[in-house]
Symmetry: C2
């Protein structure tokens, strides 16, 4: 990257970090646990989030969500079926969310009435790793269909995340997914990272994931 | 994006385009058909390419490949098993290949001895769409595991590609993949685009894909 571009990019990142810090204070003041969900396109962020929003609501823990895509509001419509308050961010081509996009889409949310706030990032295993959105936890998703080597090939995303979810675990066998290799590769990027194995389709692993969310919120 | 950043980014893109044009002339002078393979991480670019390189070699049509990743030379090692000349580009965090990276990795290839040259881009369904690498054809891959809506959510990649390959077609049923919806969504982004349905595992659809490659080279 030319150094002039690098200088300006650093400036953009610093500005993003300042805004993200302000957002973090705002989310915490409202009593929220905020999570930034990142993954490749098609890993199943929306399917997991839909099931998570519904389960939290049914157990008396209200949650809201922002969801980012280059185009379409398909995901917001899909997530709204859970009954949770949801808004779509359309990035118009931008490959990741930034803190100012999050800030610009908070109108209409009654944040203090919520316990959890999810931000579903644009499907991209590279660029979102550089942008803090004010979240408490960054959660990286990896599906069994993508192959076990992704953590090694995309180190910044895995080493900047706080927990990992292996999704579509119901397809593990048919995809000949090697669970131990995948887990070892994740841990090579970030030792001791908590790893969940979940199927949003069958519900496998949802209890552990939901328990983690409740514990994390309580611990703050 | 701040306008100063936008100006400089435009400059970087223009420089890339000039270099890509020079590369295109060089590839054509060597008699090559050059293809830029783009997709999400985990769509199966490497698996398809490995099978393609082997099939071309066995039928007397030598091909070479460059493969891009943020880290690791796993893919180059894997592709080298096909017997084809292959080199890895490690981008050290960059989210896409650029023409200068391709140019810097051509040493050691006997280009006039080859008929086809494949460039496997970094797994990213957004950023590589902006960077011409001097290819004749850009081929976008979409796996049945990713969902039918990806063309609508990532328009620049689909409308800048010349053909699409739906991969892992052997998993279509277990993933409840809706083929007609996926095809309609691809064609909504780029009408009349040629669409292949392939399984690198079973070999389904490989004949059509290989015929297309031979035809495209002949037509130039």
């Amino acid at each position: 990257m030319p150094s002039r571009l690098l200088d300006i990019r650093t400036g953009v990142l610093n500005k993003n970090d300042q805004l993200a810090s302000a957002l973090r204070l705002r989310f915490r003041a409202a009593g929220l646990l905020t999570l930034n969900l990142v993954s490749s396109p098609g890993t199943g962020k929306t399917a997991l989030l839909e099931r998570t929003l519904r389960a939290l609501r049914e157990s008396g823990h209200p949650a809201g969500a922002l969801v980012g895509d280059l185009q379409t509001d398909n995901d917001a419509k899909r997530l709204a079926r859970s009954g949770a308050p949801v808004r779509q961010i359309i990035t118009h081509g931008n490959c990741h969310l930034e803190a100012d996009m999050v800030a610009a889409h908070l109108d209409g949310f009654d944040l203090p009435a919520l316990e959890f706030f999810f931000i579903e990032n644009v499907g991209n295993l590279v660029c979102p790793s550089s942008y803090d959105l004010g979240e408490d936890l960054r959660i990286v998703l990896l599906s069994v269909t993508e192959g076990e080597d992704k953590p090694l090939k995309y180190p910044p995303m895995f080493n900047s995340s706080d927990a990992a979810i292996i999704t579509k675990i119901d397809l593990a066998e048919v995809c000949e997914f090697d669970r131990e290799t995948a887990r070892a590769n994740i841990l090579a990027m970030r030792p001791n990272m908590r790893i969940f194995e979940v199927s949003a389709k069958t519900g496998a692993g949802m209890t552990e994931w939901l328990d983690y969310l409740l514990q994390q919120r309580k611990a703050r």
